[in-house]
């Protein structure tokens, strides 16, 4: 028995190393399955919860065009949530269980959504910075070893980069607009800059699972590598917009051919992860409320489907 196990594991790793995708029916180590379920469901939850901070501005969007774009974006997020829950289901997770884990606080979602959206410019920053960071995290996942996840991510990333462009465009319109609009853009950047840097997770030294995930090709870059990429991408964009990144340590390093930047406030990071962000309570509360108040709707849909099926059977008999 022992030998067979080892062989399966070896074969599995060989496929991974050869960049052959793992499919739902293939054998996979338990730890790989569990890690993937955790990661995909967390990602699905993030799409679900991520609807809230942007949904917060739909009714207050400043023009019909912007309202339309924003609503469409939030709708896309709901769609991403659906693909990702489906991908996780191919690994044997049930949506009910995944949601129960979200509601109980066992499963996490991206901490960035625990920051509030306080002005219209936040719709710009969420698109430009938050989606920008998400894309950096997610593009490598389009080549991740697990097939259904990789395919879901291809769709997600395509839409996300569209969203990111829209976010940038909101910022650009503000920065080219009246002084109060530019001020609104800068104020939003001040609030969102550091939290988006935190989206890449703890420093590599504090991220013990990275090595295994990279080995399984679930992850393809380390947290710090991605964070550096993000800074290198965003600082010039902020300059282009005429905005100032709220980090006095940001400076081009000729030797590294990269931007130096300051240290993230890890205390804040861990606080928000632990549930002490501005919106943790409201976000999870909103989701639990929606789920609980929706219970009778789901029950009615099931009951009706059952009645229909029974009637069809009776008629067939």
């Amino acid at each position: 028995m022992e030998t067979v196990e080892i062989n399966l594991e070896d074969q599995f790793q060989a496929r991974i190393d050869a960049d052959i995708s793992i499919e739902p029916k293939d054998w996979m180590p338990d730890a790989y399955r569990k890690t993937l379920i955790r990661q995909i469901s967390q990602h699905a939850h993030s799409e679900l919860v991520g609807m809230l901070p942007e949904g917060n501005w739909i009714t207050r969007a400043p023009s019909l065009k912007r309202k339309s774009i924003l609503l469409s974006k939030v709708q896309d997020e709901a769609g991403h949530g659906l693909y990702l829950y489906s991908a996780a289901e191919t690994l044997g997770a049930s949506r009910d269980q995944m949601l129960a884990d979200l509601h109980s606080g066992k499963a996490k979602y991206s901490s960035i959504f625990n920051y509030p959206t306080l002005s219209w410019a936040d719709m710009g920053c969420v698109g430009w910075l938050v989606d920008g960071a998400a894309i950096l995290n997610q593009v490598p996942l389009c080549r991740t070893s697990y097939g259904p996840y990789a395919r879901a991510m291809v769709r997600v990333c395509k839409e996300e980069s569209f969203h990111q462009r829209q976010g940038f465009e909101i910022m650009q319109t503000l920065c080219e607009g009246a002084p109060e609009q530019k001020a609104m853009a800068q104020e939003a950047l001040n609030r969102w800059w550091w939290p988006t840097l935190m989206m890449f997770g703890p420093k590599d030294a504090d991220s013990p699972n990275t090595a295994q995930s990279m080995n399984w090709r679930i992850k393809r870059f380390t947290n710090d590598e991605l964070r550096q990429k993000f800074v290198d991408m965003m600082v010039p964009q902020a300059e282009f917009l005429g905005l100032t990144v709220p980090d006095p340590a940001v400076k081009w390093n000729e030797a590294r051919q990269a931007y130096d930047f300051g240290e993230v406030n890890w205390e804040e990071f861990w606080n928000v992860v632990k549930g002490n962000g501005m919106c943790n309570q409201d976000r999870l509360g909103a989701r639990v409320k929606a789920h609980e108040e929706g219970a009778w709707v789901r029950e009615a849909a099931l009951a009706h489907a059952k009645k229909r099926a029974e009637r069809a059977e009776t008629q067939a008999a």
Binding site: L48, M51, R60, A61, L64, A78, A290, G294, V297
Partner: protein, 249 residues
């Protein structure tokens, strides 16, 4: 032309306000799939809203834009029927409101699509396909809730008791609508009734729910006499435009 302007504005306000209400569900729906469906309907309505306001602005010819018309009027200037400004309530109330609206909206668009006014006809042509889908969605949910569980039935009954009274305004023509009907620009609502009633009867039959009878019908919204709900919608809807007048977004 003035009457056509008033009518197009009324249609635009209607889809604007209903879209606003639906978008309040965003992220709070009972099932992710239905969150998606409601956002989708809201988005269709918003698209229709924009076409209508753009056309209204053109008809008015005073240089006002779609956003000026959507965001910079007073409560008494909005011309949506009372039905669409009613609060979301629970999912049953949202479904009933949507079903009553969709039934009228779809059947009206089918005819409006034949209007001699080419732009109105073109807007209706695009919208009618979407409205057909909306009506299918809300009809299916009427049936699911009516013929679902005891609780869903009770909630549906309560929603009907609350909202049915607003359905009559949809097909009660205002003076403006009467003039346009007489001119053959827009459909005669009385002529829409048989098809609408048949659809309602069919859906209520499947839902095992009796069609409400003899209910006093509330009117006023299409003439600017609204419920108190509209003011709160406008406080949010207009917030940015009122706070930052005259800017581009």
């Amino acid at each position: 032309r003035q009457q056509l302007f008033a009518y197009v504005l009324q249609l635009a306000d209607t889809s604007l306000i209903l879209g606003h209400r639906l978008s309040e569900w965003c992220g709070h729906g009972p099932i992710l799939e239905q969150d998606l469906a409601m956002a989708n309907i809201a988005l269709d309505l918003l698209g229709e809203t924009r076409s209508l306001f753009q056309y209204a602005a053109e008809l008015e010819g005073q240089g006002r834009t779609e956003d000026d018309l959507a965001f910079l009027r007073l409560a008494t200037e909005y011309r949506n029927p009372l039905l669409v400004e009613q609060p979301n309530g629970d999912f049953a109330a949202t479904i009933v409101r949507q079903f009553l609206f969709d039934t009228f909206h779809y059947h009206c668009l089918v005819e409006l699509h034949k209007s001699p006014d080419a732009q109105l006809a073109a807007i209706a042509e695009k919208a009618v396909k979407e409205a057909a889908y909306h009506l299918k969605w809300s009809s299916e949910w009427m049936i699911r809730l009516g013929d679902g569980t005891a609780e869903s039935r009770q909630r549906l009954d309560k929603a009907l008791a609350t909202l049915w009274r607003y359905s009559g305004e949809l097909t009660t023509p205002t003076a403006t609508e009467q003039a346009l009907q007489a001119a053959g620009i827009i459909p005669d609502y009385a002529a829409l009734r048989p098809a609408m009633d048949a659809h309602v009867a069919h859906v209520f039959g499947e839902a095992t729910v009796p069609v409400p009878q003899g209910v006093f019908m509330m009117t006023g919204g299409k003439e600017g006499r609204h419920s108190e709900h509209l003011g709160y919608i406008l406080a949010e809807l207009q917030y940015m435009q009122r706070t930052y007048p005259g800017l581009k977004w």
